[in-house]
Amino acid sequence: MTKSSKINKAGHESGKLKFSFFPGCSLKASGHENTDSLLKFCDMVNIELTELDDWNCCGSSSAHSIDHEVAKLLPMRNISLAPKGIPLLIACPSCMIRMKSTYLKIKNDPILKKEYETLWEKPFDEDLEIIHFFEIFERINLEDYMDEPDKKLKKIKIAPYYGCMLSMPPDLRHEKNYYGIIEETLSKLGGDIISYGYSNMCCGTYLSAAKPELAENVVNKIVSQAMEAKAECIVTACSMCHLNLEIRCTVKDPIPVLHFSELLSMALGVEDHKKWFPRHIVDPVPLLKKRGLLSS
């Protein structure tokens, strides 16, 4: 059960939290192990997610880089699809930034609001809450869903990796700050958090495709710093960061990179790792077995 003090938060209904869910392209079409473990996790903690009907790409960095008009309209359409009365949950940090900053721009600009209403033929929802996956932990008490929570992760040494999501653009700087959520959550579950220098260095995003050498350089710095600090794995909360940390790493014998959602699901006893881990370039199974987190 969830804490009674949280019962009145939006999205709460008969003990179950309900959110509409925007997966975004990275999770939907490539980070399947991330999506799958995230959905399992939500299910286990009594959260009901309904995928936003017919959502489109948020425009990502590309629209933002070369076409401001398209960059404005793509998130706008998604906002227009969000059902009233329940929060919209986004798991991808980059989609989150695009959607939230567009939402706030419309909210604060009557001309833009007019444009929105003319284009999508519906009133703008002034009360829509757009939240990141991290904000779930303010609304549930994870320890309520398991016995002996602090024994779940068996002191596995974790280097948390946020990428650039903690460096919010100036227009979102007064919004929620996610600093420390991975640390707090996973240490409660018995993980051993390592501190190291590059936990919020950008992963290179699309430079991974267009300028691989630049991405390789930052990825190697991140992974080798984590390894020097004696981490056994890196934990990310972004599908794209995960991909870059895996494919652009050229350090010798790199440690595995896990999705935050995979560890969360495992702590709750979900046993779907056979679907997730074959999709990783660095196989986490030997480490997880060594630590007693996996038996088969």
């Binding site: 990502s60 070369i66 284009l119 460096s167 100036p170």
Partner: protein
């Protein structure tokens, strides 16, 4: 090439008007440059781009690789003591460079963005495999990084089929004149 005084004012003012950002507050303390993860790929550090504009060297500013290499990670703006929204200035300069038709010093990055938007226009969502294939064809370079592509396919990190939306008309509306 130095441009005339009026034109210099125009670029600086134009950026200010479009993005609301006054980079003339810059102290040239270099915090942005020191923290930028991709500095080595740039021909000028971020604050030097501001200096170029201040010196009236518009063409150099619009033609530099910095505005294309910058991914907008906000590491710099979080560190800037003057709270300058540096990536937004880069954005403004990039859009201006596209508008003026100046030669783009990082054509690969531009092609990549164009291919991403092509798939969004077609399907409403990105399709990584198609983006990569078309991007490589455009560069006439199918072979470099091929091992990586195969590894990604093997690990099923690239879906073969695109994920499409139903209401493609809405997307046409978004991309109307393009």
């Amino acid at each position: 090439m130095k441009m005339k005084r009026e034109e210099q004012q125009t670029l600086s003012e134009e950026i200010k008007e479009n993005s609301g950002i006054n980079f003339n507050a810059c102290l040239h303390c270099q915090s942005c440059a020191n923290g930028c993860p991709f500095l080595e790929g740039m021909d000028f550090p971020p604050n030097a781009v501001f200096r170029l504009i201040q010196l009236g060297m518009d063409e150099e500013a619009l033609n530099c690789s910095t505005i294309w290499i910058c991914v907008g990670c906000n590491t710099c703006s979080s560190a800037c003591p003057m709270a300058i929204d540096i990536p937004s200035v880069m954005d403004g300069l990039r859009q201006k460079a596209l508008k003026t038709g100046i030669k783009i010093p990082e054509p690969d990055i531009l092609s990549f963005h164009e291919e991403v938007l092509n798939t969004v226009k077609k399907y409403g969502r990105t399709h990584k495999l198609e983006i990569m294939m078309r991007y490589k064809l455009r560069r006439m370079d199918l072979l470099s990084d091929m091992g990586m592509g195969l590894k990604m396919l093997k690990k099923r990190k690239l879906d073969l089929m695109p994920s499409k939306i139903q209401d493609i008309k809405a997307i046409d509306k978004i991309f109307k004149d393009k």
